[in-house]
């Protein structure tokens, strides 16, 4: 369809004796939202942690923008343009909002001292422009623990947009959110396409996934067992496939 952004070739990952990822081959194109679906323990989280540099694979190749790369750390993957939005887990509760937004890539002078004014100003802009926070109760100096689940998610999204990443990785972005907040998150994901950004999206709720993604990759026990474009499969068929997989441990690919 279009230019490829990320390509994984023959990725294997194990933790001791447990083979978590077995021969994974996937491609993400520019401007495409891809959903990873599968049961608990299918390897979804491990796969995205390989992409974001939390884990390094045992073997296999990764290509980003058609260059072979080795992603060894989170800060490296961020520099390349991959940004993870983990549920609210990736914020630290007792620290101020502006510090959370810049954690791990602080704006500093050459001695490593923080430019607090600049960070606060930029954080202010992120809150206003990217997240659309209007509540007066929340300022850049608020501690994260006072925010609702959706607000935390908003901060994480705003952060990823601000740093202008090419690929945004969303780990269960709607878990624990209210219906309205879920709607906001799904709109955000759809909005990414307009900016020609790509996303990988994990969610247990197939209804959410179906609405937001262009393509579905089904994982089961560490392997890719099915891959569908949205126009090849209806929502009901996708649900059927998942139930089938759950019951029989196999998937019938008849397309």
């Amino acid at each position: 369809m279009s230019e490829q952004l990320l390509k994984l070739e023959n990725i294997y990952k194990d933790f001791g004796n447990v083979k978590v990822l077995k021969d994974i081959n996937i491609t993400i194109n520019k401007g495409e939202v891809v959903a990873l679906i599968g049961d608990n323990g299918a390897g979804k989280s491990t796969l995205i942690k390989v992409i974001t540099g939390v884990h390094t694979p045992n073997s296999g190749k990764i290509f980003f923008k058609e260059n072979k790369v080795e992603i060894k750390s989170v800060s490296q993957s961020r520099k390349m343009g991959i940004e993870a939005v983990y549920q609210e887990r990736a914020l630290c509760d007792q620290q101020e909002l502006y510090r959370n937004i810049f954690a791990g890539r602080e704006i500093t002078n050459s001695f490593g001292f923080l430019k607090i004014k600049e960070q606060r100003k930029e954080a202010e802009r992120i809150l206003r422009d990217y997240i659309g926070f209007t509540s007066k109760a929340i300022t850049v100096d608020s501690q994260v623990m006072g925010l609702s689940g959706g607000e935390k998610q908003g901060v994480a999204f705003g952060r990823s947009l601000y740093f202008n990443s090419d690929l945004i990785v969303l780990d269960e972005p709607t878990m624990g959110l209210s219906i309205q907040e879920t709607e906001k998150v799904l709109n955000f994901v759809k909005g990414l396409k307009n900016e020609n950004k790509s996303a990988i999206f994990i969610d247990h709720n197939i209804i959410h996934v179906y609405g937001a993604a262009d393509r579905f990759i089904i994982l089961d026990r560490g392997e890719v067992v099915g891959e569908f474009l949205k126009d090849q499969i209806s929502r009901e068929e996708l649900v059927q496939k998942m139930i089938q997989l759950h019951e029989s441990g196999k998937i019938k690919v008849d397309i």
Partner: protein
């Protein structure tokens, strides 16, 4: 009044304000209870002389505690680095630079070992540093064979002796000036340097910090290394004051130092703390013994009142925290 209580500064500095009030009340009690002692200078000079020895370590330990970790080995790091400093100073005929460099390097090395045991091997810090506490003290005993080292000939009256412990205008002990300067510097690093920022995030939530791209192990190791360095520095200050090394040097520091950190308001759960609070904690803990005796109570009350102070302070912090949540 209520607008003052709800102002931004008050809201964000509840811990600092509480500890300052506790300290003021305590010193008022001293002042009115033992006016004849506390209206004269010598008691303050005595405080300024003795507090920095554990105060410097307490400031530095605030970083480790904010990580949600603990270091129990620093009393023995003080011991082994002081021994090294004394041996080198006497054997090099008073070469300050070599003695200082090697003693502080050993302190950092001891900190590095603590850091590696905690991060790379995965031993909880409370257990790992009990091990190194015994290890370094044991090494001091083996090497010194129980005897002390006098450094009077090498140190007394030298320029380095003056820099460390001389009295400014014949009044203010140099170690206290160093202590204040270091407190300011460390507070700055704690709040406004990338390293201090990372300390807060790792202490708050290790997993989140890692996902945000902070090198958790590196931050922890550096924290233990700097505590090793400042333990060595505190040992050297003590040596210049006493002009003598004794094999149990440092072993009385553990509880006063950690008490100062906790009384100061740094949370044992990690993620929140204050270097300024630790400084005030040092003033409180460091003044109790003389203060109590000056008030006319017998020395037997010292531990009792010490315990009371610590319990009251941490209860206040726990209540502040509870209200917030």
């Amino acid at each position: 009044m209520s607008s003052i209580l709800n102002s931004y500064f008050v809201k964000t500095h509840r811990l600092e304000i509480s500890i300052t009030i506790i300290a003021i009340v305590l010193f008022l009690i001293y002042f009115f209870g033992a006016t004849h002692v506390f209206t004269r200078f010598p008691i303050y000079r005595a405080f300024m002389q003795s507090m920095p020895f554990f105060g410097i370590i307490a400031i530095s330990a605030t970083f480790v505690v904010t990580l949600g970790e603990i270091d129990l080995s620093f009393p023995s790091i003080v011991g082994i680095t002081s021994l090294t400093f004394g041996m080198l100073l006497t054997s090099t005929d008073g070469n300050f630079f070599i003695s200082f460099a090697l003693a502080t390097a050993l302190g950092m090395f001891a900190g590095l070992i603590n850091g590696l045991l905690v991060t790379k091997i995965g031993i909880p810090s409370i257990v790992a540093t009990i091990g190194t506490l015994f290890f370094w003290r044991g090494l001091v005993n083996v090497i010194s064979q129980g005897s002390g080292i006098a450094i009077v000939d090498e140190a007394d009256g030298t320029w380095h002796h003056m820099i460390f412990v001389d009295k400014l205008f014949n009044l203010i002990p140099a170690q206290f000036i160093w202590f204040v300067v270091l407190t300011g510097l460390m507070q700055w690093v704690y709040r406004y340097h990338k390293f201090g920022n990372h300390i807060h995030f790792v202490g708050d939530n290790k997993a989140s910090a890692q996902m945000m791209g902070i090198d958790v192990d590196r931050v922890k190791i550096i924290a233990f290394v700097q505590l090793g360095f400042f333990s060595a520095l505190a040992g050297i200050f003590t040596m210049y004051e006493m002009l003598y090394f004794w094999p149990t040097q440092g072993s009385g520091l553990m509880l006063t130092t950690l008490a100062a950190v906790f009384v100061g308001g740094t949370s044992v759960f990690g993620g929140k703390g204050t270097v300024y609070g630790t400084f005030i904690g040092v003033l409180i803990i460091g003044s109790l013994e003389s203060g109590i005796v000056a008030l006319g109570l017998s020395g037997f009350y010292v531990q009792f009142i010490n315990g009371l102070m610590i319990t009251i302070a941490v209860t206040i912090y726990a209540l502040i925290q509870k209200r917030k949540n």
